[in-house]
Symmetry: C5
Subunit: 89 residues, 5 copies
């Protein structure tokens, strides 16, 4: 899973039926130094996260099936909103 | 899923039957700062996207099955054309 | 699998049921020169690892099923705590 | 799928039976600016590609099953040789 | 699959049963210029490779099943030891 920051939302009028009009969040993965890491991730929101939230994004068909349902064409799902991070050293 | 910009099209006369002559788009993934992130992605177009469009590309066997069909040897599919992005902060 | 250093823990009060309240570790992947490589990984701890430990993180549905169970929405699992590394040349 | 350039071939006398002595190509993934992106990919050649060719490499168990067969321990397969690229802008 | 150099071995006394005490190699992926690419890979050795060897590492559940067995919680397996590389241009 990845740790990232919600940096925005996306709208797409033309979309495959299998996206189902769900709320899509733009998530910026984080590095150990708090910087941005590589490309943005578009994740389905299963927890009502908002801009600025730090979230845990899981990837895979089973997490999709367990959360937003098997008929969704997306395997990146927000499954946790982070309250605290305890860093070592 | 990734957010990217359509930067071109590809033609391949010599191709595996399983590609089926489908329209192939070159997509450049984006970072939070709008820059390019890593390598290009070749995606099957299921929505008639064009050069310059910002698109959402999903990856996986189920999204392929649900959109372009199970006999296509490609798991990267354009499943949304982005109308708007609302950035936080 | 990846080699990384445990750099902290995460708490998430709002989380999908499928995470099951399990202990979540932040792991920083390592490069050959000992530096940090890309984005952080959030992994379920199956071995009681702690901050500063060097760990092996496996990814996949089967390792998840074999260790923390099939109903967990996470495919990154700490499956080894490293005692020694013998570097060549 | 990725777009890359064939930069060489590999030979491996000691190999798992499941590789089956197939022709292995070294492919360098490309970025939007034509540069090299990250690590090299070793792909099975299903189309008789040669050094210098620009190729499309697909990844996954189904593409492998559809092209080189289910008993091959490789999921990266050259499935197209690029004739033309039309870049936008 | 990736091309990499074996840079060392790992020992982990505390490990999940599903690793089965197998020999674990640290592999540094290579770029086209021979440099190191990103994070290290921990792979199970199915061919008795040693430090300094250039190896091909495959990833996936089927290669694991075909080589080291289905009960191993690792999907990165050394499946070839490289004798020669013929670079184009």
């Amino acid at each position: 899973m990845l740790l990232g920051r919600v940096v925005g939302r996306l709208w797409a009028a033309r979309q495959a039926d299998s996206l189902g009009g769900r709320k899509l969040l733009l998530v910026r993965p984080e590095t150990a130094s708090g910087g941005a890491a590589g490309r943005l991730v578009v994740a389905v929101d299963g927890l009502d996260a908002g801009p600025g939230d730090r979230v845990i994004v899981a990837h895979g068909s089973r997490v999709r099936d367990l959360t937003v349902g098997p008929d969704v064409a997306d395997k990146d799902v927000v499954i946790g909103i982070v309250d605290g991070v305890e860093l070592a050293r």
